[in-house]
């Protein structure tokens, strides 16, 4: 890697970690002007930066606002790169559909998981909140996803996770996807009980889980 390239990538990465959107945009623009390949910017700056953000979150240095501003900066950089990468046949690391289960409107946890997964190179299909069981089945059939991520904040809505997994099985497509779950009242024990493939207690660990599940 040329020294100049390394400097550009470091600047972009630092700007993302600090949640500085303007510096991220100007950094990406400068890198492109210096003829650095968009894919290199993505793999060498944006993705490692979000990985650092995840590490800082796990270490208790970063909290939700810091993750939100880092994601905002990362997305601004990504928007500049996307048009330049069309046709380059770059495959995402995996494709995941995320949703908050039927009856539940709380989406901050799901959104943070989406941020970290995008930051790790996954393509995220956001099903939104209050997602009916049938909608999840339909998404699996039509969106070519590798993973389903289900979120619930409430004890009154978490049983919908079990219903969703049952419906996926009844539709005969359970082997097409891995299902991961999370949310305040969720435990590994509950994940095992309802036949989910994995549980993660926070967005950073959810990303590691997703990587692990798609490599199985």
């Amino acid at each position: 890697m040329a020294a100049a390239e390394g400097t550009h990538l470091e600047q972009i990465s630092r700007a993302v970690v600090e949640g500085d959107r303007e510096a991220t945009i100007s950094g990406v623009q400068a890198a492109l002007e210096a003829n650095i390949d968009p894919h290199t910017i993505l793999q060498g700056a944006l993705i490692p930066a979000m990985s650092d953000v995840g590490r800082l979150f796990e270490q208790g240095e970063y909290f939700v606002p810091e993750m939100l501003i880092a994601a905002r900066a990362m997305k601004s950089g990504l928007e500049l790169l996307k048009p330049l990468m069309i046709g380059a046949d770059i495959k995402p690391r995996g494709r995941i559909a995320l949703g908050t289960v039927q009856g539940d409107l709380h989406d901050i946890g799901k959104n943070l998981v989406g941020i970290m997964l995008e930051g790790a190179g996954f393509e995220v299909y956001d099903m939104g909140t209050d997602v009916p069981v049938d909608r999840v089945v339909e998404v699996i059939k039509t969106e070519q996803v590798d993973l389903i991520g289900l979120s619930a904040l409430l004890t009154t809505t978490m049983p919908m996770m079990e219903s969703t997994i049952q419906s996926i099985s009844e539709a005969g497509i359970r082997d097409q996807v891995k299902v991961m779950i999370g949310g305040a009242p969720i435990t590994q024990e509950y994940a095992d009980k309802i036949g989910a493939d994995g549980f993660a207690p926070d967005a950073s660990q959810a990303t590691r889980l997703a990587v692990e599940l798609i490599s199985k």
Partner: protein
């Protein structure tokens, strides 16, 4: 069985009589709470329970109560028939934005211009409804400058509180509720993620928005103190399941100074006043600073997030605890024996030497089996401290 072991063999007509004798204790409820909050041991641990409207309806049916009004879990305009029938020791009266929860059974816009939708959910005991925030009047930057918050000086806001204080203060410990004090109302106005983005990126704007509910609820709390409440309950959820939502330094920047001033101003009106603070989740990092700014009581201590016994060991001589009965696992999904064991464990640990008011860590939800509910109530009310 829907009525609990105690009532299994009691004819229905005797139920209310039995209930009232069962909760008949030597100590007045307010005395019991006062002693506990003084870090001393009352006859039994004080109890406070709130319910979602559908659970309250189910419970009223179980108790054959005549009150058919819709229960407000924060205590705005309640009749308190249910709370008193159960033998609760604190009665809650609420003024402020939190009263916008469960305000209607169809979509509505409250007087703060926050939009709400009705969100149904299914449980083994029927369909429940949450009211969920969907419209944020300050989402658009252009709306912020011209926004007019409601007026907290309107006398009619306080008439229900005044009435219940007159009626019940002799017997019960009265809690003036101004929860959703600063951050929660602010994010309802602005949007959850946007409010946090503002705090990170545009602190002046964040301060401006946080001040809107802060000023409103401070006026309301002062008025409630003037009316004679024994305790003010403030609240803002700044904890997630296993960590704080915002960093301790961000909390120190935006919320701690406002909370400190809030507590100081209301205590200056009545030095005997107690102040309780509600936040869900894990907030271990800021507990010493909550004590420093004059907090007396922490609520609700979700046991899956923070270890109540450890908190008692660390802060028990400076802080009282209100809550601790798990609403995420034990009450909805445990067996009655699990509930009984948890209540007893709390009494023996957090309750040691007083300083504890037992309560579920949230409004009891419709997914809670009545057997579990009754086991909780029975174990609290039938376990004198002298038996531990």
């Amino acid at each position: 069985m829907e009525r609990g072991v105690l009532f299994a063999l009691i004819p229905v007509l005797d139920l209310q009589h039995r209930l009232s004798s069962w909760v008949k204790d030597e100590m007045k409820p307010r005395e019991r709470v006062e002693i506990a909050l003084n870090h001393e041991i009352p006859d039994r641990c004080p109890m406070q329970i709130s319910f979602t409207p559908e659970f309250a309806e189910r419970l009223s049916g179980d108790l054959r109560l005549k009150d058919k009004s819709i229960h407000n879990p924060h205590g705005g305009g309640n009749t308190y028939e249910l709370e008193r029938a159960l033998g609760e020791d604190m009665l809650l009266t609420s003024v402020g934005w939190a009263n916008s929860y469960y305000m209607d059974d169809k979509p509505y816009v409250d007087e703060w211009l926050v939009g709400w939708k009705i969100q149904p959910y299914q449980t083994p005991y029927g369909t429940g409804h949450y009211t969920e925030i969907v419209g944020h009047p300050l989402a658009d930057n252009d709306a912020i400058g011209s926004y007019q918050a409601p007026d907290p000086h309107r006398p009619e806001l306080y008439s229900a509180s005044q009435q219940m204080i007159t009626e019940f203060k002799d017997e019960y410990w009265i809690v003036g509720v101004t929860v959703t004090t600063i951050f929660e109302t602010a994010w309802a106005l602005r949007g959850y993620e946007q409010m946090m983005l503002d705090m990170a990126l545009n602190p002046d704007l964040a301060e401006y928005i946080l001040d809107i509910p802060y000023q409103y609820h401070l006026v309301a709390a002062k008025k409630l103190v003037d009316l004679g409440v024994d305790m003010i309950w403030i609240g803002d959820d700044v904890g997630t399941q296993n960590r704080m939502l915002i960093s301790p330094s961000m909390w120190r920047q935006f919320l701690k100074p406002r909370m400190a001033n809030f507590i100081s101003e209301i205590k200056s009106l009545n030095p005997r006043l107690k102040v309780a603070y509600h936040t869900d989740g894990n907030i271990n990092a800021i507990i010493p600073e909550l004590i420093e700014i004059g907090l007396d009581v922490l609520n609700p201590i979700q046991p899956a997030s923070m270890d109540p016994e450890q908190l008692k060991k660390t802060y028990g001589d400076q802080l009282c605890f209100w809550g601790t009965i798990d609403e995420q696992h034990t009450l909805p999904f445990g067996a009655p024996s699990d509930v009984q064991a948890e209540v007893r464990q709390r009494l023996e640990t957090v309750g040691r030497g007083g300083g504890l008011i037992l309560s579920p860590t949230h409004h009891v939800q419709l997914d809670t089996p009545l057997d579990n509910f009754w086991m909780m109530v029975e174990t609290i009310t039938n376990t004198p401290y002298s038996s531990l």
